[in-house]
C-alpha cells in the first residue's frame, strides 16, 4: 500500500484515487473526452455504449446527493448497469469490515466501484485488495482527496478562462477538512496555474499548508486581490464545536463571499462552489446566483468529466468521434 496504486505495470490508469502522480497529458486527455461527452447530455438520446454490459457500484459509506447522482447519471449515459449502495447505514453498522463489504460486492462481478468514505485512505485500501480487473474511482475519502471534483473544477475553469497559464486562483474556507481543496491544489499545479492562494483563519488551515505549493492568507481582501477564479468551500456548521471558529456571524463577516468582497477580485472573476452551499454562511445569495457564478455549470460539467474518467479507467478510451452513438 505504499506506492501509487492507480497505474498498472504499463503505466495505464487503472484506478482513479488521487491527483498525485497524474501527468498533464492524462488530465488534458480527460478534458478532451469530457468535451465530447458534453454534447451527449444535450441530445435527446443521452447515451453512448462505451460501458455497455459493465456493472458499476456506487459504494457510499458517507451520505451524498450530488456526487452520487452525477456518478449514477454518468454511468448510465455510458450504458453501464448501476447500483447505488449507501453502506453507512447497513453493513458497517452491523460490524462488517470495509474489505468484507467490498469482497462481497466483488463476488457479484462488479467492474467498477465508485467509493466515498469518511476515512482518508479508504479508496487506497480497497484498491490494494481488489483483483486486477476491478477498478476503483475515489469519490471522496475523508479529508484526503476528491479527484473527480478537482478535475471537473479545472475543466470548468478552462471552459470559462480558456487556459491556466496566467491565472490567480483563490480557494476560501475550511481547507483543513477539505478533500476538494487538496485535490484541486494538486491539479492546478500540474496544469501550470502560477498562483494558488488559500484564504482562511489559521484554525482552518493545515499546519504545513504552504508545502502544498500555495500562498496562505488570513485576510479575504488581500487574498482575493486580482484573483481570476474564486473557489468557495462549504463550512460545516458543526465546526464551531471544535473551537475552530467563534460564530457563523463572525465567519460570514470575515470570509463570506459578498458582492462587496467580490469587488477585490478581477471584474471578470468566476465564482465556484463544489456544493452543497450554505447561503449566508460562506456565500451570499447575490453572489451565488449572480452573473459571475459558474456553480451550476460545474454540476453539468461534472457529469461529462465523470463519464470521461469512468471510460478511461474501464479502458474504453475513445477519442472525440468515439463519443457519438454507435
Amino acid at each position: 500500500m505504499t506506492g501509487n496504486l492507480q497505474f498498472d505495470a504499463q503505466g495505464r490508469l487503472r484506478h482513479f484515487l488521487t491527483i498525485d502522480g497524474l501527468s498533464r497529458e492524462t488530465i488534458l486527455e480527460i478534458f478532451t473526452i469530457a468535451e465530447s461527452f458534453i454534447s451527449v447530455g444535450e441530445r435527446e438520446i443521452k447515451k453512448v455504449p462505451l460501458a455497455r454490459g459493465k456493472t458499476v457500484v456506487n459504494l457510499f459509506f458517507e451520505s451524498s446527493t450530488r456526487t452520487r447522482t452525477t456518478f449514477e447519471i454518468a454511468a448510465k449515459r455510458l450504458s453501464a448497469d448501476v447500483i447505488n449502495l449507501n453502506v453507512g447505514a447497513s453493513s458497517a453498522a452491523k460490524g462488517e469490515t470495509l474489505l468484507d463489504t467490498v469482497r462481497n460486492l466483488e463476488a457479484m462481478h462488479t467492474d467498477l466501484f465508485v467509493v466515498r468514505h469518511n476515512q482518508a485512505g479508504a479508496a487506497y485500501l480497497i484498491a490494494a485488495h481488489v483483483p486486477p480487473h476491478v477498478h476503483i474511482i475515489n469519490a471522496g475519502d475523508g479529508a484526503h482527496a476528491h479527484p473527480t471534483q478537482a478535475v471537473l473544477d479545472a475543466f470548468t475553469i478552462r471552459r470559462h478562462k480558456g487556459g491556466f497559464e496566467n491565472l490567480k486562483v483563490a480557494i476560501v474556507g475550511d481547507i483543513l477538512y477539505s478533500r476538494v481543496a487538496r485535490s484541486l491544489i494538486r491539479v492546478l499545479d500540474i496544469l501550470g496555474v502560477p498562483e494558488v492562494r488559500v484564504i482562511a483563519p489559521r484554525t482552518l488551515l493545515p499546519t504545513a499548508v504552504e508545502t502544498l505549493g500555495v500562498r496562505s492568507y488570513t485576510d479575504m481582501g488581500e487574498g482575493l486581490d486580482d484573483a481570476d477564479v474564486i473557489v468557495m468551500l462549504r463550512l460545516q456548521r458543526e465546526r464551531m464545536r471544535g473551537a475552530l471558529i467563534p460564530s457563523e456571524q463572525e465567519y460570514f463577516n470575515l470570509y463570506g463571499l459578498t458582492p462587496g468582497k467580490l469587488e477585490c477580485a478581477k471584474p471578470d472573476a468566476i465564482v465556484m462552489h463544489p456544493g452543497p452551499m450554505n447561503r449566508g454562511l460562506e456565500i451570499d445569495s447575490a453572489v451565488a446566483d449572480g452573473p459571475q457564478s459558474v456553480i451550476l455549470p460545474q454540476v453539468t460539467n461534472g457529469i461529462a468529466v465523470r463519464m470521461a474518467i469512468m471510460a478511461l479507467v474501464l479502458g474504453g478510451r475513445e477519442p472525440a468521434e468515439g463519443g457519438r452513438p454507435a
Binding site: 500500500m1 505504499t2 506506492g3 501509487n4 496504486l5 488521487t18 498525485d20 469490515t97 470495509l98 474489505l99 468514505h117 476515512q119 482518508a120 485512505g121 479508504a122 487506497y124 485500501l125 485488495h129 475519502d141 475523508g142 479529508a143 484526503h144 482527496a145 477538512y177 478533500r179 487538496r182 493545515p206 499546519t207 504545513a208 499548508v209 508545502t211 502544498l212
Partner: protein, 427 residues
C-alpha cells in the same frame, strides 16, 4: 551443562570487554571464566563462535506480549519464542493488558506464565493508577514486591495533574521508577500521525509536536517537584529530547529510550497510507529523527527498545486512522540497531550497551553483563549474515512491520538463558 563458548568476539560493555575471548559457563548457569578457563573446568559442550559476536542477552525495555486479554494477537508463549530467536533474554512488559496489571496477583500471574515456558525473564511494569484510569493510586509497594520493576500509566496519560503529583510523590517514597509516555491528550485529540507535511497532503488528523512538548514539560515540572526517578518512553520529537537533555544537565533523575523504528523511519515512510507505519507516538519529521539520533549518540537517550506490539492481520487492514497502531518489532531490534553502527552513529560496543547493560540499569535488574559470577544470559550472532524479513520467517505471531521485504544484517545463532539454550538456529 558446562559450556565453553570458544573463539567468539566478546562484547560486554559493562565490563569493558571488547575482544576475542572464550566464555566459560558452569552447570548452574553462571559465568565462571572470561578469557581463561577456571581451574579444572571440563566443558560438556563446546560452542564454536568463530566469526560471531558474543554479548549479553538483550534487554528489551518495552514489549507487549498481549496476554492476558488479547490472545488473538499474540501470547506470552509465542512472543517469548520470538524474543529468544532475536537474542532477547529479558523483557519488560507494560501493564495495559486486559485486565490491567494493577494488582499483585496480576503481576504474579504474568510471571508464572512466563516461568512456565522458562525461555526468558519477564519483568512487568505495574499500573500507576487503578485500571489506568488516572484517578486512584495502585498499591505500588505491593506491586513492587510482586515483581513489578516500575510503574506506568502506559499510553493513557494521567490528565489530572494533582493525581499525577500524588502518584509521583508516592512512587518516590519507595524509590520506585516511573515510566512515562508524556503527552497532552487534548492536543493529541483524534490525531493518528505527525502533524506536518505528510498529514497535510494525506488529509489525516495530525498529532502536533506540541502534544509531546506540553506533556514532557508538565511531567518534568512534577518530577522536579517530587524528586521521583523517571524514565521517558519512546520520545518522538527533537525538541522533547532537548528538554530531557537540559533536565539531565540540571541533575534531574531522568532517563529516556527510543524505539528502533523511530530511529529509522519518518512521516514520509507512510507514503500512501501505509498502516504498518501507524505507530504511537507517531513517526515525525526528518529533523525529529535526526534529533533522536543525535540524542542516542550523546547518551541523552540511553537505551534502544523494540516497543513490540504484535497484531492480528485485520488490525492493519483498515483505513489508516482506524487501523491499530504499533509494530511487531522484537525480531528487528538487533538488526536495526546494528544498522546504526553501519551508519557510523554508534560503535558496536555502544550499540550493544544500549541493548543490554543500559536498559538493565534503567529497570534496576541484574542483567545485561557477563562478568564472572553473572547469570549466563548470552546472545551469539553472526554480524555479517543477511536475510530478508518475510511474514513466513518471522517467529512472532504478529507480522505487522514496515520492514517486511527489507534485508537485515545480523542474525542470532544462539541464545542462552541462565546457561540453557533457549534458541539455536537450525541449518
Amino acid at each position: 551443562m558446562r559450556l565453553l563458548i570458544q573463539g567468539g568476539h566478546l562484547v560486554d560493555p559493562a565490563n569493558l570487554v571488547d575482544a576475542e575471548k572464550d566464555l566459560y559457563i558452569d552447570d548452574e548457569g553462571f559465568v565462571v571464566g572470561v578469557g581463561k578457563a577456571p581451574e579444572g573446568f571440563k566443558p560438556e559442550r563446546i560452542l564454536d563462535a568463530k566469526g560471531r559476536i558474543v554479548c549479553p542477552g538483550l534487554v528489551d525495555l518495552r514489549a507487549r506480549l498481549r496476554e492476558p486479554g488479547l490472545e488473538y494477537k499474540a501470547t506470552i508463549e509465542s512472543e517469548v519464542q520470538a524474543a529468544v530467536a532475536a537474542g532477547i533474554t529479558t523483557l519488560c512488559c507494560p501493564p495495559d493488558t486486559n485486565p490491567v496489571i494493577d494488582t499483585p496477583a496480576m503481576a504474579q500471574m504474568i510471571q508464572h506464565r512466563a516461568w512456565r515456558f522458562g525461555l526468558a525473564f519477564i519483568h512487568p511494569l505495574g499500573a500507576l493508577t487503578k485500571g489506568l484510569a488516572g484517578m486512584e493510586l495502585t498499591d505500588m509497594r505491593a506491586l513492587n514486591d510482586a515483581g513489578c520493576v516500575g510503574l506506568t500509566n502506559a499510553l493513557a496519560p494521567v490528565t489530572d495533574t494533582l493525581v499525577m503529583r500524588r502518584a509521583l510523590e508516592y512512587a518516590a517514597s519507595f524509590d520506585l521508577t516511573v515510566f512515562l509516555h508524556s503527552e497532552d491528550p487534548w492536543l493529541h485529540a483524534n490525531g493518528c500521525m505527525h502533524e506536518g507535511e505528510v498529514s497535510t497532503r494525506l488529509g489525516l488528523p495530525g498529532i502536533p509536536e506540541a502534544a509531546e512538548i506540553v506533556g514532557v514539560a508538565r511531567d518534568l515540572a512534577l518530577i522536579e517537584q517530587t524528586g521521583v526517578r523517571a524514565h521517558f518512553c519512546g520520545l518522538s520529537s527533537a525538541r522533547a529530547v532537548a528538554m530531557i537533555a537540559r533536565a539531565q544537565g540540571r541533575g534531574l533523575p531522568v532517563s529516556a529510550d527510543a524505539s528502533a523504528h523511530h530511529l529509522h523511519l519518518t512521516e514520509h515512510d507512510i507514503g500512501f497510507f501505509d498502516t504498518q507505519c501507524h505507530v504511537l507516538p507517531p513517526l515525525r519529521s526528518l529533523q525529529d529523527r535526526e534529533g533522536l539520533r543525535a540524542a542516542v549518540q550523546r547518551g541523552t537517550i540511553a537505551a534502544i527498545c523494540s516497543d513490540h506490539q504484535p497484531h492480528e492481520p485485520d488490525a492493519k487492514l483498515a483505513p489508516f486512522a482506524e487501523s491499530e497502531p504499533g509494530v511487531s518489532a522484537l525480531e528487528t531490534l538487533l538488526p536495526l540497531t546494528l544498522r546504526l553502527v553501519d551508519e557510523n552513529l554508534l560503535t558496536l560496543n555502544q550499540a550493544i550497551a544500549m541493548l543490554t547493560v543500559k536498559p538493565a540499569r534503567i529497570l534496576g535488574v541484574d542483567a545485561g553483563h557477563l562478568g564472572v559470577g553473572a547469570t549466563a544470559d548470552v546472545c551469539i550472532f553472526d554480524p555479517e549474515a543477511r536475510r530478508t524479513l518475510t511474514a513466513e520467517n518471522m517467529v512472532s505471531r504478529g507480522r505487522n512491520t514496515p520492514f517486511l521485504g527489507r534485508e537485515l544484517r545480523g542474525r542470532v545463532t544462539h541464545t542462552l538463558v541462565g546457561g540453557d539454550t533457549a534458541f539455536e538456529l537450525g541449518e
